[in-house]
């Protein structure tokens, strides 16, 4: 940890952000003779409680790396992540993770999959079943509690994964392109529901995607990242009330914002190409 990281637990107003990245950078060590891979240049960012942040950027820009660092599945080479003011060193149950794949255990029913976190955390109690039932109906799976995952469609599988994450009421929800494998219609429906769910529960969300309209639709702030090695090349605020509805996409401001994100991306890409060309 560096000295800079410890000084910056809170900002000028003295209040603590839920997550704070202090010059977090990541270089993957060299492997099988290949040179070390610089995935992330120092990132500074803070995420406020209840905020919905979308990370967008081209493939390999380190957005997944940043998400995994936040989940403490990876340790940054430099800098630190402060969660509620304390440095994250190992996975935290107050942080829920959703992956690109649903990662459901195929031998467990939807309900039993949702029980998994409580089972592992040893927090199975008399109210666990109620909580699971409540969360399953929140994501529209109450009729499928006893179905096995392979009996569900892709969208329903991700709903089940979302339910599993929500059951233990995390304060921070990390999502790595969770709807990337779904068809366009299902994805749109899932985004609507996600906006509804997260704004009602007040949960803080960090959502990785490479779909610009999706990012603008969901986010309070869209964090745009540059091609590898990734760094934050711009932040676009989306000052519209949540939950977002379909007609938000018809708003001219929506188009303007997606365009803004797009131009930041294009600029960053341009810069990185020029940087590569000038390199000897």
């Amino acid at each position: 940890m560096n000295g800079k990281g410890q000084a910056a637990t809170s900002d000028a107003d003295g209040h603590t952000a839920l997550v704070r990245y202090d010059s977090v950078s990541m270089t993957y060590p060299s492997r099988r003779g290949r040179p070390p891979l610089k995935a992330l240049e120092p990132v500074d960012l803070s995420v406020e409680r209840g905020e919905f942040i979308c990370l967008v950027g081209p493939s390999g820009c380190g957005k997944t790396t940043l998400l995994k660092i936040t989940a403490a599945l990876l340790t940054p080479t430099q800098g630190s992540v402060l969660f509620k003011g304390t440095p994250l060193s190992e996975p935290n149950r107050a942080i829920g993770v959703m992956f690109q794949k649903p990662v459901l255990l195929p031998w467990r029913t939807v309900e039993k999959n949702a029980f998994l976190p409580a089972e592992i955390g040893g927090t199975m109690g008399p109210d666990t079943a109620d909580r699971v039932a409540k969360v399953l109906s929140m994501v529209g799976l109450h009729d499928f509690a006893t179905a096995l995952p392979d009996q569900l469609s892709g969208g329903m599988q991700q709903r089940a994964a979302l339910a599993r994450t929500l059951v233990y009421e995390p304060e921070l929800l990390l999502m790595d392109e969770p709807f990337g494998a779904l068809d366009e219609f299902t994805r749109e429906a899932m985004n609507l529901e996600l906006s509804e769910l997260t704004s009602h529960s007040g949960i803080t969300s960090l959502f990785v995607t490479h779909n610009i309209p999706e990012a603008v639709f969901l986010a309070d702030r869209v964090v745009v990242m540059s091609p590898r090695p990734g760094r934050v090349s711009g932040v676009v605020e989306v000052p519209f009330p949540k939950p977002r509805r379909v007609d938000f996409m018809r708003d001219p401001a929506f188009t303007d914002l997606t365009f803004e994100v797009r131009s930041i991306l294009a600029e960053a890409e341009d810069k990185s190409r020029k940087a590569k060309e000038t390199r000897p």
């Binding site: 996975p91 993770v97 255990l105 592992i120």
Partner: protein, 280 residues
């Protein structure tokens, strides 16, 4: 006949349904009938070849004589003992081999250090045609059932070992990360993720192990024994009682089939989910 056709054509939708169901059934029965005819033809040729003097009855006794030989064999006073001995050898060899294979597969699949240090030896052992061990095992364990059990163990543990190891090693990364994000202990990862994930593969290994145990017991009896079905097979062969040889073969294939169906039945109950699923 023609009246039926007319009424069918009057109601459009029902015709198709009728055609569909009527079409499916006769196809199925047709192929079943053909399969039975093939078997009967095979038996008929077997019967006729020696009867017509095309093949010596000493080399190939007609099916009817094999049947008579089988009945005679089943009626023999000593037969139950031979059957019992071979069954004990197979089952003990199978159970012990499976347990050893599973335990060592777990050790190799869970601990990297064990795999690195022991795997070369395991591979070297596997490349050995294990039948060559039969004379040695008889020298070590004697003419009784112990040497045959040892032979069955030696030959049947390997598929269980390999499948257990591979099954435990092929747990997808994302599922491991999910468990880590939930702060699962090593024991929990093993019990709730790795072992059920490996179960279908382990079961396949056990099935192969069962077939191998049957082979092991019989081969052991061939090399040196005074009782058992393998001994009978050997003895009748020397006596040129080919009808009895075939009768013992029939008994052995029945045992093999019964054991296989038993384990297949067990597998269908234990592995109730689709194991080729891409969820995890």
């Amino acid at each position: 006949m023609s009246t039926y056709t007319v009424t069918d054509q009057d109601t459009g939708a029902e015709v198709e349904l009728d055609v569909y169901t009527r079409d499916k059934d006769p196809e199925r029965w047709k192929w079943r009938a053909i399969a039975i005819v093939v078997v009967l033809t095979f038996l008929l040729i077997w019967e006729l070849l020696p009867r017509l003097g095309l093949v010596s009855t000493i080399i190939l006794p007609p099916v009817t004589e094999v049947w008579a030989g089988l009945m005679e064999l089943l009626g023999q006073e000593t037969f139950p003992n031979h059957l019992r001995v071979t069954l004990i050898e197979m089952l003990f060899g199978f159970v012990i081999g499976t347990l050893i294979g599973f335990a060592s597969g777990v050790a190799l699949g869970v601990w990297e250090s064990v795999k690195k240090s022991v795997y070369p030896l395991v591979v070297a052992f596997q490349s050995l045609p294990k039948i060559v061990l039969a004379p040695l095992l008889i020298t070590w364990f004697g003419y009784g059932i112990e040497s045959k059990i040892a032979m069955a163990v030696v030959i049947s543990f390997f598929p269980v070992l390999i499948n257990t190891m591979v099954g435990l090693e092929t747990v997808p990364d994302e599922a491991r990360q999910l468990m880590r994000s939930l702060r699962a202990s090593k024991g929990q990862v093993f019990r709730k993720l790795s072992l059920p994930h490996a179960a279908p593969l382990i079961m396949a290994g056990i099935k192969t192990g069962l077939t191998f145990a049957v082979i092991g017991a019989i081969v052991g009896e061939f090399v040196g024994s005074s009782e058992g079905l393998g001994y009978l097979l050997h003895a009748y062969g020397f006596q040129l009682r080919i009808d009895k040889v075939f009768a013992v073969i029939v008994v052995l294939s029945l045992i093999g089939a019964l054991l296989y169906f038993a384990i297949d039945w067990l597998e269908k109950r234990l592995i109730y989910w689709r194991s080729d699923t891409t969820l995890v």
